[in-house]
Each structure stands twice: as structure tokens, then as C-alpha cells.
């Protein structure tokens, strides 16, 4: 097969392509037009682009084909859409870019965008955010729902987009660059707690898949695999990918948040009491 066919989408989705082009386009345009002091450094730009391109690659290249017909590749796809890609995007701190575009929006339009803000704030309640984060993994891996999602083209796209959007919301909540001492961003202690909390159900689910004797996800057997591979091996690898990397990412996240908390320790003595009064 020629190299180009590995880079072209297996199941072309114009809406997906357009979304990614808009995101990168708006990001690039803002970089060119924003004042020097706000502009993210090259490291952050690379991190952002890498995060976005990773997500694009698993949705709109040959990788998507293997994700549809191999359970363990599918788990790898969700690992990137729900964890790695959003983590990179959140860590790159695109806040100045978003602020830049927000200031360009007309006040009348901003008024109509308000409901989006309300939905966002509800979704970012720590309890709801972590429930959604774990809930979506369990929802799409529920055997009968997983079966339907892999059979129906629409459901499949809804599944992948919901994982990506939820990943972005959750990891943005965790790696929100604003300090909780001076803004109403989530406190570092709570962020660490959330990271530990969401790791446990993912480990349980992963271990359950790994140690299941029977076929849990028979849709790959029913629909044929991308290449002949023993179903047990496929399921074992998929279970391991559900179990170990997400747990490691939670720990990495905890370390990053801890480091930030230690850096800020004692930095905002006055405003801390102010923020405390508001909370």
C-alpha cells in the first residue's frame, strides 16, 4: 500500500477535518496577531500542535481503520483522545489565545454565548467532571453499548467526539494555568484528589477486562479483525491499555499539580485570604 493511503482518512468526516482546521487556523492567526508579551513560547506552541495533531491522527488516518477492527488499537485511540491529546493541549496553556479571540467577539454575540458559559461551569463542577470522565469510559465500554457503537457509523463518531471533548474539559480543569490563590480555579488539593479518584475505577475496569476469561467484546470477532489475531490476545492488550497508561497519567498529573502547588507556596500571602473569603 502506498504511504499516502496510511495518511488519508479511512472514514472521511468533513466536519472533523473542518474542526481541526479551524482550531489550528484560529490558534495560528492569534499567534501572529497577538501582542508579543502574551504570545506562548515555542515549546508551548509545539506541545499544543502535537496534542491536536495526535488527536487528528487517530481520527482521520489509517489508524482509525485499525481502531475499528482491533480492540487494543481502539483502546489506544481512546487513550489519545481522552488522555494524552487533551493533556498536551491543556499543558500548553492556550488561555492567552482563547482570551485574544474572546476579546474580538462583539458584546452582543457574547451575550448570546452566555448559555455556553453556564453549561461549561456546570460541567466543570468537580463532582460532575470526574463522574463524566469515568462515566463515559464505562458507558462506551459497556459491552452492549460498545457493540452498537462499533456497528453504527453515527454512534462511532459520537463516541470518539464525546471522548475528545470530555477529555479536554477534564484535563483543562486539572491543568488550569490560573492559580487558585487569586482566581476561582479549582484548588490544587482538589485537583490531586480528582486525579486519584478517577484512576481507581479505570484500574478496576482495565483489570476486569484483562482477567476476564470469556470474550467481553465480541464485536471484533463478529465484524472481523484487521488481521488474524487470537481474540484473547487482543482483549488482554486492550485491557492493559485501559489499566496501566491511564493510571500512570493520573500519577504524572498529580506530580505536575504538586510541583505547581509547591512553586506557588507562599507567593500570594495576601490574596490567599481574599480568595478564601470568596470561596
Amino acid at each position: 500500500m502506498p504511504v499516502s493511503s496510511y495518511l488519508l482518512p479511512y472514514d472521511f468526516s468533513p466536519l472533523t477535518l473542518l474542526s481541526y482546521m479551524l482550531v489550528l487556523g484560529f490558534y495560528g492567526a492569534a499567534l501572529l496577531r497577538m501582542p508579543e508579551q502574551d504570545r506562548p513560547g515555542s515549546g508551548r506552541i509545539v506541545t499544543f500542535t502535537l496534542g491536536v495533531m495526535l488527536c487528528y491522527a487517530v481520527m482521520q488516518t489509517r489508524f482509525d481503520y485499525y481502531s475499528q477492527y482491533m480492540f487494543f488499537v481502539h483502546r489506544g485511540q481512546h487513550l489519545i483522545l481522552h488522555h494524552l491529546g487533551p493533556i498536551l493541549i491543556a499543558l500548553s496553556n492556550p488561555l492567552p489565545v482563547m482570551r485574544f479571540w474572546y476579546q474580538k467577539i462583539l458584546p452582543s454575540v457574547r451575550y448570546w454565548l452566555q448559555p455556553l458559559g453556564w453549561i461549561y461551569r456546570i460541567l466543570q463542577q468537580p463532582f460532575i467532571a470526574s463522574f463524566l470522565f469515568v462515566g463515559l469510559i464505562y458507558f462506551w465500554l459497556w459491552p452492549s453499548i460498545h457493540f452498537d457503537a462499533m456497528l453504527s457509523r453515527q454512534l462511532y463518531w459520537i463516541m470518539n467526539w464525546s471522548m475528545l471533548l470530555d477529555g479536554l474539559l477534564f484535563w483543562w480543569l486539572i491543568f488550569d494555568p490560573r492559580s487558585p490563590a487569586v482566581t476561582n480555579a479549582l484548588g490544587y488539593g482538589k485537583r490531586i484528589l480528582l486525579l486519584a479518584l478517577v484512576a481507581i475505577p479505570q484500574m478496576i475496569l482495565g483489570a476486569w477486562i484483562v482477567f476476564s476469561r470469556g470474550m467481553v467484546y465480541d464485536v471484533y470477532e463478529v465484524c472481523g479483525r484487521a488481521w488474524p489475531m487470537p481474540p484473547e490476545t487482543d482483549q488482554l492488550l486492550g485491557g492493559l491499555l485501559t489499566w496501566i497508561p491511564p493510571a500512570m497519567m493520573s500519577i504524572l498529573g498529580i506530580l505536575i499539580v504538586l510541583r505547581r502547588a509547591m512553586h506557588e507556596d507562599g507567593k500570594f500571602p495576601k490574596s490567599r485570604s481574599l480568595a478564601g473569603g470568596n470561596a
Binding site: S152, V222, C223, G224
Partner: protein
């Protein structure tokens, strides 16, 4: 906090109504609305082009396989033959089995013809060049792949193990997973034949 709890309740209620909405009257898996209607253009065993129009008005059973298949394909086709044989007599001619070979390199029209003849009169053998087969399998969200050939040139082919059932109008209705008995398949087919007969 009360607002959060309320949202919780609404969410749970929605989840549970979603779970109980299933119609449990089929042995196979109901795929109405999940898959597109029957459409293909393949080469038949006599060299002619076969389309769904050739079997219009009958219930179509679509199955992907290959004639060198050691166990799954013969078992499935035998089960299908038996389940059609168990139908009430008036419906037996209303079911067409469409066997699509995903191994066009080995499955010549002659080989395919003698293979499908073995499994009954209303079995249609078809195949095509690989790109056309890829298109068709993609439409039904399935795939196939080839193993490396052994020293004597034999190779294994991975393919779907399920049978797609389309009603008389060509709408995707059921997916028969492996493990169903011919009796169960027969009941499903009879129910389908009655409803649109």
C-alpha cells in the same frame, strides 16, 4: 448542591430509560437503524453482475467468508440451510443467502459455484476485486485480512463471523451472531417473513 443532585437524578433517569427501551423479541441482535440498507454490485458465479435487485422481495442473509475456510463458514452456511429448511413451507423460497467471498485470489467463479451449490438452491455466491470488497465491508462496518501464506501457499483469512439479515425491502434488521441455533434463526426468519409478507 441541590441543583447537582437534581441533575444527577435526571441523568440516571435518562440512562435507565435508555436501557429498558429494547424490544426483546428477536434471538439475533436488532440492528434496525444502525446500518445502511442493502446495496452492492458484485460478480456472480456465472460472470454476471449481481445486485440486490436480483433477489428483490426476499429476505436476504448476507455473509462474508471464503471457500477454503476450515470451520466457521461451512458451519454457518449449514446452520442457515437448516434454519431455512425449518421455516413454514410458504416462506422457504422467500429467503436468499448471499455468500460474499473475501478471497477473490483463490475463489474463482467455478470454485465458488460448486461451493455454494453444496449449501442449497437459494444461495448466491459472489465476489469482486479487493477494492470493491473493501467498500462493501466498510459499508457494513466489517473487514477482512490475510495471514502470511505457509510453505504450501495456504493462508488464513480473518472475516466477519456474523450474518446480516435484511428484510424484503432491503433494510438492515438483524445481526445473527455465532452461537445461535438453527431453531432460533428459523424463528427470527419466520417472524420477519410474516411481518413483511
Amino acid at each position: 448542591m441541590i441543583r447537582i443532585r437534581l441533575l444527577w437524578l435526571i441523568f440516571l433517569a435518562l440512562m435507565f430509560t435508555g436501557c429498558t427501551g429494547n424490544d426483546e423479541s428477536w434471538h439475533g441482535k436488532d440492528i434496525s437503524g444502525l446500518m445502511p440498507e442493502l446495496e452492492f454490485r458484485l460478480e456472480g458465479t456465472d460472470g454476471n453482475t449481481v445486485t440486490p435487485a436480483d433477489s428483490r422481495g426476499t429476505i436476504r442473509l448476507l455473509y462474508f467468508g471464503f471457500t477454503s475456510c476450515p470451520d466457521v463458514c461451512p458451519t454457518t452456511l449449514t446452520d442457515l440451510r437448516r434454519s431455512v429448511g425449518q421455516l413454514p413451507e410458504e416462506y422457504r423460497d422467500d429467503v436468499t443467502t448471499l455468500f460474499v467471498s473475501v478471497d477473490p485470489r483463490r475463489d474463482t467463479p467455478e470454485r465458488l459455484a460448486s461451493y455454494v451449490d453444496f449449501f442449497g438452491d437459494r444461495v448466491v455466491g459472489m465476489t469482486a476485486e479487493e477494492p470493491a470488497l473493501r467498500e462493501l465491508t466498510k459499508r457494513y462496518r466489517t473487514t477482512f485480512g490475510y495471514d502470511k501464506p505457509d510453505s504450501s501457499g495456504n493462508y488464513n483469512v480473518s472475516h466477519s463471523s456474523a450474518v446480516y439479515v435484511f428484510d424484503r425491502s432491503g433494510n438492515a434488521r438483524l445481526l445473527l451472531r455465532p452461537g445461535l441455533s438453527p431453531e432460533q434463526i428459523s424463528e427470527d426468519l419466520a417472524q420477519l417473513a410474516r411481518e413483511s409478507g
